[in-house]
Homo-oligomer: 379 residues x 4
Amino acid sequence: MGMVGGGPGSFIGIVHFNGAVLDGQIDLVCGAFSSDPDKSKITGAEYYLDPDRAYGSYQEMIEKEKELPEGERMDFLCIATPNHVHYDPARLALENGFHVVSDKPLTYSTEEAEKLVKLVEDTGLIFAVTHAYTGYPMVKEARKLIRDGGLGNIRKIVVEYPQGWLTEFLEGGDSIQAGWRTDPSRSGKAGCMGDIGTHALNLAEYITGLKVVELCADLTTFVPGRKLDDDGNVLVHYDNGARGVLYASQISAGEENDVNIRIYGEKGCIKWHQMEPNTLEIHWLDKPIEIRRAGNSYLSAIADYNCRLPFGHPEGLIEAFANIYRNVATCIQHRLAGTAPPEEALDFPTVYDGLRGMQFIDVLIESNQSDKKWTEFKK
Amino acid sequence: MGMVGGGPGSFIGIVHFNGAVLDGQIDLVCGAFSSDPDKSKITGAEYYLDPDRAYGSYQEMIEKEKELPEGERMDFLCIATPNHVHYDPARLALENGFHVVSDKPLTYSTEEAEKLVKLVEDTGLIFAVTHAYTGYPMVKEARKLIRDGGLGNIRKIVVEYPQGWLTEFLEGGDSIQAGWRTDPSRSGKAGCMGDIGTHALNLAEYITGLKVVELCADLTTFVPGRKLDDDGNVLVHYDNGARGVLYASQISAGEENDVNIRIYGEKGCIKWHQMEPNTLEIHWLDKPIEIRRAGNSYLSAIADYNCRLPFGHPEGLIEAFANIYRNVATCIQHRLAGTAPPEEALDFPTVYDGLRGMQFIDVLIESNQSDKKWTEFKK
Amino acid sequence: MGMVGGGPGSFIGIVHFNGAVLDGQIDLVCGAFSSDPDKSKITGAEYYLDPDRAYGSYQEMIEKEKELPEGERMDFLCIATPNHVHYDPARLALENGFHVVSDKPLTYSTEEAEKLVKLVEDTGLIFAVTHAYTGYPMVKEARKLIRDGGLGNIRKIVVEYPQGWLTEFLEGGDSIQAGWRTDPSRSGKAGCMGDIGTHALNLAEYITGLKVVELCADLTTFVPGRKLDDDGNVLVHYDNGARGVLYASQISAGEENDVNIRIYGEKGCIKWHQMEPNTLEIHWLDKPIEIRRAGNSYLSAIADYNCRLPFGHPEGLIEAFANIYRNVATCIQHRLAGTAPPEEALDFPTVYDGLRGMQFIDVLIESNQSDKKWTEFKK
Amino acid sequence: MGMVGGGPGSFIGIVHFNGAVLDGQIDLVCGAFSSDPDKSKITGAEYYLDPDRAYGSYQEMIEKEKELPEGERMDFLCIATPNHVHYDPARLALENGFHVVSDKPLTYSTEEAEKLVKLVEDTGLIFAVTHAYTGYPMVKEARKLIRDGGLGNIRKIVVEYPQGWLTEFLEGGDSIQAGWRTDPSRSGKAGCMGDIGTHALNLAEYITGLKVVELCADLTTFVPGRKLDDDGNVLVHYDNGARGVLYASQISAGEENDVNIRIYGEKGCIKWHQMEPNTLEIHWLDKPIEIRRAGNSYLSAIADYNCRLPFGHPEGLIEAFANIYRNVATCIQHRLAGTAPPEEALDFPTVYDGLRGMQFIDVLIESNQSDKKWTEFKK
């Protein structure tokens, strides 16, 4: 693969790299790690790249790679840039026949997202979006249980994503991460809700198969001087009549990265916490609590497919990323071989999930500015 | 004390009894345990009462007890009946000079609650309401920390009260508890939100000293045939600008009684779970997590005052009730002696907390029926 | 009941009181709370006793109470004194027809314990010993599961009792508790192992029904100047071939009172922690972990019998004490009525458990002084 | 690197691979994955190796790789075979100038281990042993705290390693893992204690810097037909006077892989559980419990050096392996460059740790067969 972004000060570029190479199917062969060609070379050297393939821009990378013989050139582009530099590299990659793995949220605006969807449909290329929390095996176990009706009809969903790292005005200092994420010109319409609220939505909808149909949002900017929301609490209605709460926050001081979800059906509920990802709790209405753990033989086939290690040997977020990358790589290999990939390999977030995240941001902003209680989430 | 309610099928009467007698200051001396005099006698015998003081009605009890010499007659009335039988025994007790400890919510309607407030003010009698979760020592520790500014300015409060016991249509069977709690003629305007949502409000306001000023409620009745809400999700604004989520549910299948609260300030947050009540988590912005445990010498004086046992010897809900009863008994003793009770003994929920709970129910119902996003919580 | 001990500076006297009165079956009617008659009167007044029944010695109490008419005099004696003052009050009570509830360890020496066993057998009186951790409902649930063969043949038992409160030389200061517990003339042959090691043995044998047949002890006195062991690690062999580890410690700095046990059979294991007593974990060989919680309808009858509150309403150590007292009271009531108590009421630790604890201390001391690996635990 | 072992049915080979490649410093360039050359080719293809470098034996691999030009040939050998095939590949690699990363226990016998130590000393080559649990950042945090005297003098160490996967006679079936690990001709003198007991020893000594000086072992073979110990409980004395318990078990039904350690000093204790590796508990004598979490800025430099992700983004066992591999790779790079590696990179288990593990096995076996309580652990 080739990477755009991921240069000095990046957080997520290295995670993409770790996840991509973990299973040995994928090598990083080129990159445009920075808009400064010298910095790009330095990062390329840290990855032991051929210096000729540490490019000064993604435009150059895509152009040059395309000229290389098949088998030598990159097979797909990994996009690990800030939000405002998602669309154009993705577009250019697709137009030149490269598959794409992009970080989230999909783009800077919904308009861009819609264009990407069209391009993916027109080109037939593979497009993954790293809503990586859905790569965890126990999330897949929860999904399987619920999709199979194991909890009965779903009534309530509580999905929470508290972080505390933006409790203070970090964008006033030299934090690259805080800088672009709180800057409307680079992040988009939303701050916290775009950055992590979209993960919460994706997690809830991925596991249950339900869709949010209307919501009531209360977004706040707590930190003086900040330009985008840093906290948002949302009441949510789903398409089957289920209701719930969704919240995301980056000013929840003392929280690390505690994405968690509880889903209540008529027979019981599941609880999952990303910070202890190898455990899935199932609380039954009239039976003892059941704790399922990664790596056990009693898990569903799809959960098992996404575990690397035997029980009791913890896996983490890099492995969740790797599950997405492994599926993408498997799909690309089958595409190259002209064969159909196994069902399990198709299980990764796509451009459609990305689009839905962008639409969610729009609805949140609209609801937040409205005096009406409910704002429709139109598809 | 004397008790009204608490007969066969009651849940909370025995808890009041256990809490009242635990520390040896209070004896149960009489009761009107049931509107059926025979049943009242049977319950009285189970409590080893003098049969003459197991009355057939609270009216009879108050009348007869008043005739007994001081020192022999009951000092106060404990009300452990369904909501619609809170007001009248309380009124009668106050009018006849008896102090009152009442279960929550305070009354069937806000109008009744306002009358009780006036009666309490007119008589100067002691009136406690058993929002018992505030009786836990670690709740008091959290309160002390926050009131002293330990977390800085409070920004966000998440208070949740999920239960699952009304997941099915129990009121169709022989469950006395489900029966009256889901019956508008006995429970009041609200079901779940009155029964346990008021606890959530009380917990949040007790710990922080903040007041809810407006809210947006989404109440639902999930179980077919049920007449009152069994789930409610609420967005909340507090008087200092803090925001948050408050929810209560009785259809969260698999949940037992998981009242929990997270309060975020500028310096960190606290987390407390009622089901493990002896632990208080404090997560700091830039420091390791701190876990304070009941019974330790490092706790504040007020927390220490409410612990009975040394560290590592768990206390539970009965002890939380007992903390309220101990304070009430201490206040009554000082009243009898003509002395001022110690500051610590004044720390129990009063008729004003009860009134606030009733007003909260009104605002929830109003908001739920409104298309407007925000409904004011007028004091 | 009447109490010996429990005066100023006592820790366990008040816990006995709380547990005894909690359920309303038992009143404290008299006491010899201190060897100083004035102090005894003061404590008696704190318990609202008739001043005439706050005696200056247990001898006086037993003599005077015996002269009172049946129905008025105490029914049984509660012994809450240091170990060296267990035997004589117990003996005198039994000789005068009073039942006994004694704290643990049973006596100062095994010789005294054997005499008490004989006296109990000769008099036929009821004699309970407050190994209170076996009063918890989830301990009883574990016992039922294992006794019914739910885990298959038991292979391994790990029982741990770490405390840290004697990490420093407290007996050099004014700590009454540290004073007598580390003093061979009041505590007996063993310090930590007598005080809490006996609880660990009792817990393991109570749950499994197995008996220790030989052991290898490594006792240590870590704190300079201390006269008795403050830590002990023991390898243990049980009568069915099971093996395990038993340890107790009072110098495990940072530990509160973390009695816990893991029992492994061929099909799975149970784990129970006293500090979160309402939870029982069952880990199965090939199935998800199962968490049973107090108050649920799926529990065994004997666990249910020992729960007061519905699920999610925590009970603690006082309630575990109360379960023993309730059983004792029920047995006494049936004895008075000439009827047979229900099976469940017989489930409390007796003088035989007390004797076994004293023998355990002897074997530990013998093993610790021996160069041989294994020392037999003769019955 | 080149790998010996790791073919079909292997568990640990792939973990070595994942850990080695994660950070991009190391490529797998060759392997002798199976003693069957065809199987070796198949595994090589799965790793996308040049077919010419998927060798039929480690002898062939070492010979052929040595002939390749520097920069092209493997830099070091990874040994992921059963115990009886550790020594000879290691010896051959060292004799031919290759560095080595070997799985544990170091060898089949202590004699072999001693020879390897000598060879390492003679050649000056780098030799790492994958006691990977010491690769976790929070283990390093604990080590730093304790080595700096943060807990005061260490008094007690409890290290436990329960697994349940050999509860039944799996070696009677087709489990490759169970087969060789319970076979004295391939595993060595010890079963469970060699396989995982050595990890427990390494963890305790690594963190504390203390050395076991004598011990008392009780090893058992519970499963009928099994040829080696499947459970062992050990009393332990350390060189500073600390005492403790060490146990390992593979018949603890229901346990996954719960390596955990508690270390008690005069000021408090640490607790660490491998199954939740990103958390380190510190329980202080007189202060609230402190929870340190991976990824936070308050951690020591050495812990920080071993974290990849920001707080709240869990890392697991592969990352712990990767920390060892990263250090080895860094040391090799500096060796090639003729420079001194940074201090942090020297922090990995070496051939001396491996030797100590082998000696530990000898002492355990000797103690287990002895009637004496204590057996000396001679260095």
